[in-house]
Amino acid sequence: MSVRNREWPLALALAPVLILILAPFVWLLVSSFKTEAEIGRADPFTWPADLMWRNYLDAWQIGGFGDLVGNSLINLVGVVALSLITCAPAGYALAKIRFPGREWLFYAFILGLTVPVQAIVIPLYQVLFGLNLVNTLAGIVLVQVSNGIPFGIFLMRSFFIGVPDDLIEAAKIDGASHVQILTKVFLPISTPAVQALVIISALSTWNDFFLPLIVLISPEVQTLPLGLVRFASTYASDYRLVFSGTVISFLPIILLYILMQRRFTEGLTQGAIKG
């Protein structure tokens, strides 16, 4: 059976499914250009008479999206960088160095992989409060890094385990320390693992809602999802603002994904399989 024979019938059959699944995006995008009256007329299948680019300008200014995007970016970069700095060395130690207590540490990290963050939220808040980190971006970065540490360590560790011990021996004969072995030998050959860690921690940080909801109280430190929810409930009756604000909050990541589709998919699957 040739590929050609089944490609187009199947693709055609999938087209309606695709339309159904992407309908929310299209509806929102189209509606975001409508006037209040056009939205109120309740027919999603009409095209806006004029493209109301003003909706976006208004939403951006009223919702303070500039700050929200900025906070989300700071949050994202902080978590990704700190995750790499903490998880790569720990993963290396767990994979390649024998030390007392390793078994116990391993089980402690398993516990962190399993217990949902909602289940520890009260003491977590108290710890943050005690450290004066409530309502700070530093606070949200630290808890999110901690939350991702078990996964990150497992991911790095399972890649490092696959690197032959001979490489370590050889480097040691050349006088390299463990730190040098990690940075000069292991990390350079672990691009897939690093890529997976970056993509997975970036995506989960960018999208996180629960922890920011607890930690970030004032509008000026809030991240995008949190800010959008606040914005949408404040301006609930001004649909054109809600719609264009919502589009602002998902469009960048979708465009980014379409640009780096392959890397993204690889990182996610790789992380799932190797983690």
């Binding site: 695709l18 398993i110 520890i120 939220v121 808890v143 078990p150 497992f154 011990d165 992380g271």
Partner: protein
Amino acid sequence: MAIPETSGSKVVAPLRDAPAVAGHTGGLSARMSKRRTARSASPDGDAGTAFWLMAPALGLYAVFTLLPIAATFWLSFNSSAGFNTSASFVGFGNYAKAAHDPIVWKSLAHTFVWLAYHVVMAGGLGLLLALAVSRLRITQVFFRTAFFLPHLVSLAVVGVIWANIYDPFFGLMNTALTRIGLGAFTQGWLSDPALVLFSVNLASSWQGFGLYMLLFIAGLQNIDRSLYDAAEVDGANSFQKLIHVTLPGLREVTTFVVSLAMINGLKGFATVFVMTNGGPFYQSELITTYIYRLAFQSQDHGLAAVLCILLSLLAIAITIVFNRWRARLSQ
């Protein structure tokens, strides 16, 4: 796709070691990983270096995860009426209180229903679309990319989007149903107590299925081609090949996806919080949303801590059950 070369005919050998995706937890691999650790450690025990390499991760993890886990346990035996009040020991008092709180039972029941919806809707759609998309050659990347788009949207934003989709006046759902002649199916999607959990879960599942689809596609690509050839020689039609080759070949990925979907479902919070805040009449209250309500609104920390313990136990139970299941599959 980046499925490592290791697999061959052993379909998802690497998946066995796969505890987590996208920051979601799973933790299903203790036994396997332990064995591997023992084998590959270098002979010279350089404990001092190991300590310093572990220190940053361990420090953060101890302060922001391990300590709170222990404190939650402690808190569940104490009564506390807020963040600024001191706690007093009440033994199992909070547990007794939880047992007599009808909303605790409701939220527990809703959580189970919620998990079932998510596994069936998100996992099922992920599997069906993976089966279809993986047969495509020329247009595969296009469909894969497009079907994955919803997963990029933050669940809180999904909540905002779908609250509007369900809006009874201008929402996409009811207007579209009416327009295509299915006006009889229009509903108060979020106001009907019998329907609300399904409606909110549909939104979550719309966001979640893309990842499961990717994982199923990865699993499908690892099924040994020669099994299909053998089946064809035996005269199997496509349906028989699906039943006898494809589905058995996907068993391990399926286990993984189901456990991941359950753990993700257990953590479900944002869509409910944004769309219904547990209502109407607590009909969409989950354990997670009730914890939030108790901890940050009514400030009953003792009762909230009991629910936290319950949530943790559920997560650990799911992890253990699927770990066992997977271990048996891979024998």
